[in-house]
């Protein structure tokens, strides 16, 4: 998934771990350049992830902006810069959780998911069916939705999902199973 998001030329050369080489520059400049490069490569994917969690584009973009600003502010304290993407992905998910908590419970659950614009591809694939699936996804408890998005959108391995969610792999497996069961029930299908 991350390799799909490489649009445009990278400003810096990249190490095998995906981390840009920016040595030899003043600390603030190199931090800004490194964070900007990371943003260039991964912003779209992260905004899409946040969009699936929140269902609104502006909120998703805000969550990603906040996460990268946080990464920049704490750059000097980041112990393992090879893990910067994981760090910022965690921050995005935390931002989404916070945004969801700020919404009132009733509003969150009673407002139907409405995609902002239907693309031509979406029409071909069956917009109604997709909307029905997404409505059901959005009615899931936050943790279950998160587990589904990380597994079925990002295709992350169970261990990585567990780390991102602060749960054990068995908890992730269980959350996924419960979410699929609920989803199947909502869609009138066996899970």
């Amino acid at each position: 998934m991350e390799s799909e998001e490489l649009g445009g030329a990278a400003a810096l050369s990249w190490t095998d771990s995906g981390w840009p080489e920016a040595r030899g520059k003043p600390a603030a400049d190199s931090a800004a350049a490194a964070v900007a490069a990371l943003y260039q490569h991964h912003a779209v994917g992260l905004i899409r992830l946040a969009y699936l969690m929140l269902g609104d584009r502006a909120g998703a973009e805000d969550a990603v902006q906040d996460a990268f600003c946080g990464l920049y502010r704490h750059w000097d304290r980041l112990a393992d810069r090879d893990r910067a993407l994981a760090y910022v992905r965690s921050s995005v998910l935390n931002g989404c959780r916070s945004a969801l908590r700020r919404r009132t419970t009733g509003r969150r659950l009673l407002t139907a998911y409405q995609p902002p614009t239907a693309s031509a591809e979406a029409a071909v694939l069956g917009l109604e069916e997709r909307q029905e699936v997404m409505r059901a996804v959005r009615r899931l408890p936050e943790r279950q939705r998160e587990a589904l998005v990380l597994r079925f959108y990002l295709d992350l391995p169970e261990r990585e999902i567990a780390r991102l969610m602060g749960l054990r792999p068995s908890s992730v497996r269980s959350a996924t199973a419960r979410a699929l069961k609920a989803l199947g029930h909502a869609l009138g299908e066996p899970s």
Binding site: T105, T117, A122, V133, F152, R168, A177, R178, S191
Partner: protein, 425 residues
């Protein structure tokens, strides 16, 4: 891959495709705060030297009657007790949330004292300002004394102190709830704010049978938490942690399904032993064993100062078995386990709940209640046990939002409200 999973994957990818491939420009702040100090946990003990007297005083003085919304429900006495209900206390406290189909305790907007026999609301309290939710509840053995944990509304991201990969937890505070069945009134007392440090969460908690000690699993992360016992009379505290096992954690995050659970920590009836779930030994999975901590003995190492009292059978594959609840009965002889077993390998994953009793003396396992399929989306919770464990109150043992009394192997449903997230007797 099932048809449902294929449909889900396609829907997620199509929906994500609505976001164009040209993100807005990154707007970085002008200066970095590299000198900002890190989290203070666990150095929060600094309060205790000077604040203990204040904490004790707070117990007496911090009445928050102004923020109470008490609903009088008559005398509070229940008049009829069907046979199945006779062995269960007449009142319980339920955490409730309005119009929430899949309630979990972290979103409860009220705590209601209810009658076991009828489900009638006898008294109701809401979180005192600035708190907006009740996240957990625990009970003493007198069935009139309870402790709640209340949470503030979460802050906007730019104001959150826990920025980064660590979860942010909004401020929270313990409250002592007392119910007077004679008048039908409930009152709240604020416990010292310093019991719960900034940006930390109460994962699970248990009030001692005599109501004088509160055990809680508190931390910034599930793996960074401490087991703490607060003396409610003096405001002092003792903390235990897994000093020799960095990846171990006491109960929180493992039992239940996130949130603050009623059946993750439990006391024996003498108030001297605390049961929690931890590793069998260093390096083992954290959820593999129920351990018993003698809180009267010195020491602060959770592993060295506790002993295992119940473990899964060795043939069980731990990755497939999940304990969702584990309490020790007040007589200390039996551990009651809510076990969840997930199928391995190919999708679709099947999940099965079982209620087990394990003898502390012999390790003998008895299956009390075996559900071939998951009973709805809720997992079972053990909300009450009598002295020996032969009378339990459990939720989620039947399909839908249900609760009932298990007397031996006989199940008697009790009136239950779909708005109840969790409850304690």
């Amino acid at each position: 891959m099932t048809g449902l999973e294929n449909k889900l994957r396609a829907a997620l990818r199509d929906t994500a495709g609505e976001i164009p491939a040209d993100p807005p420009p990154l707007r970085l702040p002008p200066a970095r705060d590299s000198a900002r100090p890190g989290p203070v946990w666990p150095g929060r003990r600094r309060w205790i030297g000077w604040a203990a007297p204040l904490a004790a005083a707070a117990l007496v003085l911090a009445v928050v009657a102004a923020s109470l919304a008490v609903v009088h429900g008559g005398s509070g006495r229940t008049t009829s007790k069907p046979a199945g209900r006779a062995a269960v206390p007449p009142y319980y406290v339920a955490l409730t949330a309005p119009a929430y189909p899949d309630v979990y305790s972290g979103n409860a907007t009220a705590a209601e004292v209810r009658a076991t026999a009828t489900g009638a609301v006898l008294a109701k309290v809401v979180p005192p300002k600035p708190y907006v939710h009740f996240a957990g509840v625990t009970a003493a053995a007198d069935h009139r004394t309870f402790v709640l944990v209340a949470e503030e509304k979460s802050h906007p991201p730019e104001e959150q102190p826990g920025e980064g990969p660590h979860p942010y937890y909004q401020p929270s505070r313990f409250y002592l709830l007392r119910f007077d069945p004679g008048t039908g009134r409930a009152s709240l007392l604020a416990l010292p704010a310093a019991f719960i440090p900034a940006n930390a969460e109460v994962h699970d908690m248990a009030l001692s049978p005599d109501g004088t000690s509160l055990a809680a699993d508190i931390g910034r992360d599930y793996v960074g938490s401490h087991l703490i016992v607060f003396d409610l009379a003096t405001g002092t505290e003792r903390a235990w942690s897994f000093k020799t096992c960095a990846s171990c954690h006491p109960s929180g995050g493992g039992l239940g399904f996130v949130g603050t659970n009623v059946d993750a920590l439990s006391w024996t009836g003498d108030g001297k032993h605390l049961a929690f779930v931890g590793p069998n030994r260093a390096g083992w999975p954290s959820h593999s064993t129920v351990r018993l901590l003698d809180v009267t003995l010195p020491g602060s190492d959770l592993l060295a100062n506790s002993r295992p009292v119940a473990s899964p059978p060795p043939e069980n594959r731990l990755s497939m078995v999940m304990w969702r609840g584990a309490i020790i009965t007040p007589d200390g002889r039996t551990v009651v386990i809510v076990e969840e077993v997930a199928s391995d390998g190919a999708a679709p994953i099947k999940v099965r709940d079982r209620l087990l009793k394990i003898s502390v003396a012999t390790g003998r396992v008895t299956v009390v209640n075996d559900l071939n399929v998951l009973a709805g989306y809720q997992y079972e919770q053990v909300m009450y046990s009598n002295a020996t464990g032969n009378v339990l109150v459990v939720s989620g043992a039947r399909k839908g939002k249900t609760a009932g009394i298990l007397h031996g192997d006989r199940y008697t449903p009790i009136p239950w409200d779909r708005h109840i997230a969790t409850a304690i007797w």
